[in-house]
Amino acid sequence: MSFTQPKENKILEEALVRQFQGGDLEAYDKIAEIYQKKIYGLSFNLTRNQMDAQDVTQEVLLTLFRKIHTFQGKSAFSSWVYRITLNASYMKLRSKKKEPNVSIDELMPSYNGAGFQQEKIQDWSENTESLLFTNETRDVINKAIELLPEKEKVVFLLRDVEGLSTEKAGEILDLTVPAVKSRLHRARLFLRKKLSSYFEEFSSRKVEE
């Protein structure tokens, strides 16, 4: 499911925000309901921890309640909510010791001097269906995302997981469009490499059986 907003939703949402700014608490409840899952999902995918995601969601929803008067509508309301969510999630992450990230450069594709592929590339794209929702596959995917450096990870989550546009992700992260694209491309290459090792190993396992 993607969270790209159809136009009617955006108009409805802007109306809700204005109603809440005017003191309508029911409008706040609706906003909280709309955003709860998005805030929780994004913070959970960043922190990988239910307690942290719960804390972040609570904090963000309370911030929306208290700071709604500071929202001026210069950017989309959703961008504002995402930005508050990211900041709160980063605070959680910063308070923890973290494992060093792997170097993303080592996992970029390699070519010979003439610019041609050096490694054997298997096409596993057709074989993921049966594997997709097994616990093992889920773990591999989550682990791979966890290993992404933060700069690439957040772009990947906003753009490919939440389904926001490149422009919107740039607005939220204060990045230019080319910067968003380049980070997203690197994230995808890194993840592709990680998933390739898994799916290739899996298909060789199947042959042996």
């Binding site: 409840d29 309370l62 989550n142 490919d160 592709r192």
Partner: protein, 82 residues
């Protein structure tokens, strides 16, 4: 013919559909000659799809939903206390 490395640099825009016709043609010409790059492109696309499908499965657990409702309710009744 463009090389595999150039092909990779174009992949992102190719998938977005934002390449001009001439560049698209030269990329597709490369694909015809180079099955590994087709596999690369397909698995590159698949990576996004399967990661998105997996990560979007995150749902707010009922216990969390209830706890949040309670906090928000208290907050509305007594703003600024938690």
């Amino acid at each position: 013919m463009i090389c595999c490395k150039e092909c990779l640099d174009l992949l992102y825009d190719y998938i977005e559909g934002s390449l001009d016709q001439e560049t698209t043609d030269s990329l597709e010409e490369h694909f015809q000659e180079c099955p590994p790059c087709i596999s690369f492109m397909k698995t590159y696309k698949s990576t996004t799809t399967i990661c998105r499908d997996t990560l979007n499965q995150v749902d707010v657990p009922d216990a969390v939903r209830e706890a949040l409702l309670k906090v928000l309710k208290e907050n509305k009744e007594h703003p600024g206390e938690n």
